[in-house]
Symmetry: C2
Amino acid sequence: MDKVSPLAPASFPEIPGIAGVRLGGIAAGVKYENRPDLFLAELAPGTKVAGVLTQSLTRSAPVEWCAKVLKEGTARAIIVNAGNANAFTGKAGMDGVKVMTGAAANAVGCDPSDVLVASTGVIGEKLPADRISDVVPSLFNSLNEANWPVSARAIMTTDTFPKGSYQQCEIDGVTVTIGGIAKGSGMIAPDMATMLSFVFTDANLPLELLRKLLRSGADESFNAITVDSDTSTSDTLILTATGQAAHKPVSDASDKRLKGFRTALNDVLRDLALQVVRDGEGAQKLVTIDVRGAASKRAARRIGLSIANSPLVKTAIAGEDANWGRIVMAVGKAGEKADRDRLTVAMGGIVIAEKGEGVADYDEAPVAAHLKGREIHIDVDVGVGRGKARVWTCDLTHGYIEINADYRS
Amino acid sequence: MDKVSPLAPASFPEIPGIAGVRLGGIAAGVKYENRPDLFLAELAPGTKVAGVLTQSLTRSAPVEWCAKVLKEGTARAIIVNAGNANAFTGKAGMDGVKVMTGAAANAVGCDPSDVLVASTGVIGEKLPADRISDVVPSLFNSLNEANWPVSARAIMTTDTFPKGSYQQCEIDGVTVTIGGIAKGSGMIAPDMATMLSFVFTDANLPLELLRKLLRSGADESFNAITVDSDTSTSDTLILTATGQAAHKPVSDASDKRLKGFRTALNDVLRDLALQVVRDGEGAQKLVTIDVRGAASKRAARRIGLSIANSPLVKTAIAGEDANWGRIVMAVGKAGEKADRDRLTVAMGGIVIAEKGEGVADYDEAPVAAHLKGREIHIDVDVGVGRGKARVWTCDLTHGYIEINADYRS
């Protein structure tokens, strides 16, 4: 489990500083030893925040806290610990949240209601929150604009590599930076729960616009990935905007000056989301699934996720087997309209089934070569409409079973 | 893969003959060699038939044929081959169906529209239907009331044991027999698709009542099991009633004389369904999940299936790990109402989490002993209502990956 995923990027990116954001990580010893496990970001006054939280109906205390802060839409700090998810700890859960947010608020000099919080790690164990509050003053003293690598490491649990991404673009001729970090390597790793991501920008955008851009970006990234179909009780995606870039205000989502920013934001979100899939438990292959010809975009998404979540499709990919029958099966069980007799399935760009039956004489050599690679592409046309969607997953291997079954909590 | 599942029953049951049903199996050599792979049942004139077919929207030609026959509600024969699913074979699919039903109709002396048909096996390969029609006359000559074991073997694909079950009961003081066979060992085995089950009785019941009893029984059996959440394009469950038992007619589902029959039918259906789970690919443990306290029966079922389909719950069971956090996660992702702070989870009858947090001092020894066994019981109370449901699954092991990934089609 210490081995870095074969799908990891070559190196951690050199994310530039973002005006109004100071960050860092430190070892609090919550569970891990000799590694950073506490992340803190200080946000300049006036920073706006948007978020997307887990849809789980049994969400954790930190997620409930964030929901309240996000309703107000401003924050001065984010504090995150790794090693203990502070989930299913009863009333003690909210007590832990108050210790964490209180410590961050003291350091930054704000109200605890201006502090976002997340916890990831073991479920059901009481959070030793004092260990966290004890080191917050030292951590605060270490914050700067450049501490991206230690920040990305501080939120890792079973991740095999730290995840970061950035883009720069222009609004009104002024350079704007978007940088972020993420963690996650299974929807829930072996008791080490959660997908978390924190993205920062200096763009000056109103709250409603920020929320709209994040929702739409999340839809094409974090909401379009799956490792094992399991949903964490703590999933949290936050976008903060300090507003310190010197461009003129942009208030409307349809404003043409936003085009570059939207693209850059979506690129960062997608890159971070794909890094989570690349670190999927036991993953040996990154699988991109394009569905088109569906009744709607939503239907295409559901069909894509049905394929991406099918254990039989995922094991076929692991076995480098061009098993299109399993893909057709997964289309059929999605519950969305599809025309069996107009169905087309391609792998690596080669059509292997069309009009509801296998192509008898398709060229097997390039398909076999494609399946031996690290990045697999599946195209499906379900033949009923114009809806399309792209989703990502990884293969299902012995590594997944080893991590999740050959382990005792 | 030739090894019999450790969860298999000790032996095949001695199913009595059912008046009006003659059955048998023979080797047609569709794909397998030296084993029966073709099943035929002759049903006496006047036999009523009810069925439950796959909900897949990409269902196979045999399933489409059965849907038409079941609308009429009478049949004179059932013909089933193993080794080739006759699915995704384009127009040739219906041609194969016509050859099979035509051969059975010729032998029995009826119209093809009175013949039910099913195929299970490889998807996407054209069915060599002539091999089937060639041996139907010999097969017909071998039919009798006692041929249950060869019939159960003739419909197997990757199953590791033949599946049969029966019950006898009384209607109006007259003995009635219900006997059936089934196959399935994954929702779709390695290219060897499908769950099939054929149940026969001599009871004299009107068609609408038969349909109602089967729907309700399927709901508590075949619709309450999952191996890997994948749905075959060919799933078929048929109940036939020859009406040759000498009891007076029963026309109403609320008739008290039906009580014993309903119980017996449900017992047969549940026994057959559980045999399918016991033969789940790679299964080492049979898992029973009882959900109560849900908003409705339907909600309880969805929560139960969310737990039963969770790769993380299934790998935890494989690892004999009392990982209640994963069960809580699966409750949360089901999308049905649950009260996190009133949630109770028990394993082997021992409560290990309640009121939204782990029980600090629960007795671990009996839980650990329970998890080492072959039959695992999980109880969940979600604390919001009176809805309850029971579902069954198996664990997710290296065996599943071996069967499905370490295999080339």
